[in-house]
Amino acid sequence: MRKAATDEIAPDEGDGPPGAGGPCADAKGAGPRGRGPRPAPAHAAVGARSGIPRRREALTGLAFVAPMLLLFIVFRFGPTLGAAFLSVTDYRLSGEWTFIGAGNYTRLLGDDLFWESLGVTAVYTALYVPMTVALALGTAVLLHRTLWMRGFFRGLFFLPYVTSIVLAAVIWKWIYEVQDGLLNASLRLLGAGPVDFLGSESLVLPSIAAASAWKGFGYSMLILLAGLQSIPREVTEAARIDGASGRQRFCWVTLPLLRPVLFFVLVIEAILGFQVFDAMYVMTAGGPVRASYSLVYFLYDSGFTFFDFGYASAVGLVLFAIVLVFSLIQRRLIGRDAD
């Protein structure tokens, strides 16, 4: 599901990553999340062809974006409105429905399972985001310093990202296996274990978050790497001449300059964290005892197990609101930085 979700994002939107153009350009070109080429900003074209009447320009511009706009309306805007409509009905399998106003939302507020799944999602995100960003930053810094076979390593680290999440989750399930999984077999050699990674309520979220971080850090790594490369060499050189140690240079020069990119990465990963579903679906089916039962899992169950499409849509809109808040924070923080 998340695969589908990320694929859907493919032909990317206008709001690119912040900071120098470098990070955006690089990441977008390379990302199989599909951050493919996007239309050049309209104002650039306007400036170049000042003789053509404005109206015609606008039409031409519209013609260029029309295919994308149409897809957006049909596959994103439409369904969103559809979900908003469903969320105020009790739409059932038979196709019959009645308008119930805020009924689904008030039911949601009183539903323990909703709060439980929201809690699981929040904890998962709090684990997943630092893991992923730390891993991405670490590898980006290493790659930035390495010249030898940099392209090879960049590709290597990026590889998990282009692997199917379902496939990766199946492999990680084997790795975590309690009886003779790779990890527990290794622990046994050291005389420890066995650790029930996916069967214990306290370990299941960190374990899934680690697998997801392995799978997802490549994208953020590329953005951070591009961010690092866009930091002018003179700045770090100046710091070096002033006698700053490597660690000081990283903490006081590189990191502050990398902040906008870092913020972007944090927000994107947090949004992805809140949408977690497929890793849990494949690895634990939400268990044990709903310890890995995320908000999207709750949405999925409401819709496809309990056929309660109105209720599921209400969950979807709540998720939408959460993601919206994250995006607004991103815009605010990054907008301020860009100024």
């Binding site: 979700a5 596959f75 399998l93 949004i271 089916a285 005892v289 919206l324």
Partner: protein, 419 residues
């Protein structure tokens, strides 16, 4: 902001998108003679499955001139989701393969049409329990074309290692074997506790063996929190705590080769199919596989086994064609070929499927104890409520009583909503 909007729009769109994706089949025009069938990998080997249904298409079309039969192959995964969205949007195939547990929910929403007319001739020949499993309110909604059965499966090598000569066939024998098997370095009984695993293949057989039931009479209330239910769950939890049911059971989903049983770390399973036995032969060696009778609990000897059958979409545009196809599929020749190809048993008393398998006799015997589950429109939903509570009992978070109690109150709420 746009980023976030699009991302969440995607999530929100999933319902709508999957509806679109699942719905694009089966709108056979009236009089065109086209009959679409949704079929699943009933024959595990996908090549053999495709070949079998191609043969059926040819055979049927030769017999019924002018009918264009189209068998569409779908995976087992998420079959209810796909079917529900297809039915919900007024699409879907003319004919679809159904299990007994699916019938009440689709019958209740008016998505199915009775098949009584199509099976008129063969009616008296069906096993009564097979026909009953496919019925609702006195009408048959799917014509049985095969019957599945599960039974116990033992690893002879592990039993021998523990010095056990008689495979444990009762709960008491399982309990008694556990310490000896533990000493021999093996677990005793495999289980599938994942929320993905159908309870028909995990907890319910134990419940039935204890003499319990899932639903109270009438189906409006749950009944699994009875003393029998507590006894069944306690039996399971005790085995899990002592290591007789392996830890890995928590994430098992009834996939034999993936599980400790398949990997020769557990001595027995109690819901294993003939296909599992065949896989075990290959993995463990022929001499190491024992198929036994259905497991016996304090309430009796029960195993899970159910018919698979063909139902008709209430909105089919070619009901006559669909009925002709179903009448063709329940004939002895097709029942036999289906059973041979898929390793199934016959839902008809007048047809015996000849099997090459060494265990056919054992499975035929188990068939007498086969119980197809308790039909209820909320059967599948109830599983989603009960599974996590069984996990809670296994991990020790709740006592068996408390776990079943909280599942029962959630289930009764669900059942009340359905009314």
């Amino acid at each position: 902001m746009k980023t976030g909007f699009k991302r969440s729009a995607v999530v929100l769109a999933l319902l709508a998108l999957s509806t679109l994706a699942a719905a694009g089949c089966g709108d056979g025009g009236a009089g065109s003679g086209k009959v679409t069938v949704w079929m699943y990998p009933v024959i595990m080997d996908s090549k053999a499955n495709a070949a079998y249904w191609e043969g059926i298409e040819k055979g049927f079309e030769a017999k019924e001139q002018g009918v264009d039969l189209r068998v569409e192959h779908l995976p087992w995964e998420n079959r209810d989701q796909k079917l529900a969205t297809a039915f919900g949007s007024g699409k879907g195939p003319d004919v679809v393969l159904l299990g007994p547990d699916q019938i009440p929910q689709y019958q209740a929403t008016g998505a199915l049409r009775p098949v009584d007319r199509a099976i008129e001739e063969a009616r008296s020949a069906f096993r009564p329990n097979a026909l009953e499993a496919m019925s609702q309110d006195g009408r048959v909604y799917a014509a049985p074309i095969y019957h599945t059965v599960t039974s116990t499966l033992y690893n002879r090598k592990l039993l021998a290692k523990a010095g056990i000569t008689e495979p444990p066939a009762t709960w008491d024998a399982v309990r008694a074997a556990a310490p000896r098997l533990k000493q021999a370095g093996a677990s005793t009984l495999d289980y599938s506790a994942s929320n993905e695993a159908s309870l028909n293949m995990s907890f319910y057989p134990l419940l039935w063996q204890a003499g319990g039931r899932v639903f109270a009479d009438g189906g409006g209330k749950s009944a699994f929190n009875s003393p029998e239910g507590v006894e069944a769950l306690t039996f399971l939890v005790d085995l899990y705590r002592s290591g007789a049911v392996p830890r890995s059971a928590m994430n098992n989903a009834n996939l034999f080769t993936d599980q400790a049983l398949g990997r020769q770390q557990v001595a027995m399973g109690y819901t294993n199919t003939p296909a599992d036995a065949a896989l075990a032969e290959r993995a463990w060696g022929k001499g190491n596989v024992i198929v036994g009778p259905a497991l016996t609990g304090p309430g009796g000897q029960v195993c899970f086994g159910m018919p698979g059958g063909l139902g008709i979409n209430a909105r089919s545009a070619n009901v006559q064609g669909a009925e002709k196809f179903i009448a063709y599929m329940v004939q002895p020749a097709q029942i036999e070929s289906m059973g041979r190809a898929g390793g199934f048993f016959s839902p008809r008393t007048d047809v015996t499927v000849p099997h090459d398998s060494a265990y056919a006799k054992e499975y035929e015997q188990a068939l007498d104890h086969a119980y197809p589950g308790e039909p209820n429109p909320a059967a599948r939903q109830l599983m989603a409520l009960l599974s996590p509570e069984i996990q809670a009992a296994l991990t020790g978070k709740k006592s068996p009583e408390a776990a079943l109690e909280s599942a029962a109150s959630a289930a009764d709420e669900l059942l009340a909503r359905q009314r």
